[in-house]
């Protein structure tokens, strides 16, 4: 691990100011950052420890909905009574990720910002446009089992590894951000992540010094919520593909449907256009197949991940079938 300065700000203004300088990084749970620092994939020159800031509360909002502080741990969020009752999809997604020990440290803000598990991002001897802009992408033409079938570019085909963010994407979450200027802004999660394009090292809309202070979930809707994760082993593994669904069926027709997918793209993937195909329709295998085909219309395999295209198709159909049956 490279040497760094360690600072512990006493409040938000100090935190964002300390993190503004190049080479600075916030540290919260640290489970991903310290792992990457040991491998020297990341080498911040200053760590801004935000663990003592007052960001660990989950608060019910007067207008309905839940504001989740950025430092709420994955364990606490999954076990929160309101989340279990109103957003079971989020509990399920959190519990499907990592291990008990990691969930006790991993935070809501940190989970959103965790880095890809692309083998070449981790291998400092291999070119990687995300780690070292302009050096090339070793995954293209390499081992691609974990890689993206949607949203990738000729410069990067890495996937976002989070389960939590996939559930939040289907729940229409918003990200609350504190800027260096002391302004609080809110960004829909669907606009928070940037696609790689030719700048895969820029992963989000965050500016230097910006700190995620919380995630806001809108008031719960009456709907069936499901998180389905497919992985190489039964526990403690990243998703090959996953699907988060919030589906309401009324009088035999689909009222609303929100679906997000993990393990397949550089960000939690959602296709609002395809969702329009479902609203107002009667659930049927044919409808689900048409929806899956629309979601996968632009999908492209890289060889080692070709299997994800039929796997996601089947996962989408199975998830919609289960969700519409349970919602009847």
């Amino acid at each position: 691990m490279r040497p760094f300065d360690y600072v512990r700000p006493s409040g938000l203004p100090e935190a964002t100011r300390q993190a503004r300088a190049e080479g600075s990084a916030f540290i919260a749970g640290g489970t991903n950052l310290l792992d990457l620092m040991k491998l020297e994939v990341m080498a911040p020159t200053r760590l801004v420890d935000i663990n003592r800031l007052d960001l660990a509360e989950c608060a019910s909002l007067p207008i309905g909905g839940l504001r989740i502080g950025a430092l709420v741990t994955n364990s606490d969020l999954a076990a929160d009574e309101r989340v279990r009752r109103d957003y079971p999809l989020l509990s399920r997604a959190l519990l499907a990720g990592a291990s008990g020990q990691l969930r006790n440290k991993a935070t809501t803000g940190g989970n959103l910002l965790q880095r890809t598990r692309c083998y070449y991002f981790y291998d400092t001897s291999a070119p990687c446009n995300k780690r070292e802009p302009g050096s090339g992408c070793s995954a293209i033409g390499g081992a691609t089992r974990l890689h993206a079938i949607l949203g990738a570019s000729d410069h990067c085909i890495a996937t976002h590894p989070s389960d939590m963010a996939v559930a939040m994407q289907a729940l229409d979450a918003g990200v609350e951000i504190e800027t260096v200027e002391g302004i609080t802004r809110s960004v829909p999660l669907s606009d928070f992540y940037r696609l790689p394009g030719d700048t895969p090292h820029i992963e989000t809309v965050l500016e230097p010094g910006d700190l995620i202070t919380g995630v806001v979930l809108p008031a719960p809707v009456k709907a069936t919520q499901i998180y389905r994760k497919v992985r190489d082993r039964a526990s403690y593994a990243f998703a090959l593909v996953s699907a988060a669904a919030v589906v309401a069926v009324e009088n035999g027709t689909i009222g609303s449907a929100a679906l997000a997918f993990g393990g397949v793209a550089p960000r939690p993937w959602r296709n609002h256009h395809a969702e329009l195909m479902l609203a107002g329709e009667r659930p049927s295998e044919k409808l689900f197949e048409a929806f899956a085909d629309e979601v996968l219309g632009e999908a492209r395999g890289q060889g080692g991940n070709d299997f994800k295209i039929p796997l996601l198709r089947r996962t989408i159909i199975a998830t919609l079938k289960q969700a519409t049956e349970e919602s009847q």
Partner: protein, 168 residues
């Protein structure tokens, strides 16, 4: 940089490079070698300790982040004369061969049983109603952050089941 650490009820003044992980602080600076270094990347669980009652991977956190926290290591759980229920159960059920992962397994299971008592669901829980029943499948899922290269898993599950039944 100096950090005051409270470990197993004792206060230690640690003077170490701030890159020092909690695991390295315990093992190399404070002589508490119970927590083990396996992968050093949070994958194996051999380094599991309790911080403020919660199980964490001590290899993936910096010692300097923990002043004021209450840390418990395997040295603070039971003693040779007075084993904890889980330690006794690991002996009775033969829950290890080489023993390298055992301190992590016992620290992890100690906190895991508290999580179940607090009503935390797991990935394999049928319901999120806050009343999980500790089946063998639940034990395996909840302990998936602790690997055992000797593959003593059946006996580890039996030991945890037995300690859990004895306490309830």
């Amino acid at each position: 940089m100096q950090t005051d650490l409270t470990i197993n009820g004792h206060t230690y003044a640690l003077n170490a490079d701030q890159r020092t992980t909690l695991l390295d602080a315990l093992r190399q600076h404070l002589g508490l070698t119970g927590a083990k270094k396996g992968c050093d990347h949070g994958q194996c669980g051999a380094c599991t300790v309790l911080v403020n009652g919660r199980r964490i991977n001590s290899c993936l956190t910096l010692a300097c982040m923990h002043d004021g926290d209450e840390i418990v290591t395997i040295e603070g759980i039971g003693s040779e004369e007075d084993l904890s229920a889980l330690q006794q159960a690991f002996m009775s059920e033969d829950g290890f061969q080489c023993g390298y992962c055992t301190p992590g397994q016992i620290c992890s299971a100690t906190a895991m049983l508290e999580e179940v008592k607090a009503g935390w669901p797991s990935h394999v829980s049928d319901s999120l109603d806050g009343k999980p029943r500790l089946s063998d499948e639940e034990i395996s899922e909840r302990m998936s952050g602790n690997l055992c290269r000797c593959a003593c898993y059946p006996n580890i599950v039996a030991a945890i089941r037995s300690a859990s039944e004895a306490s309830s």
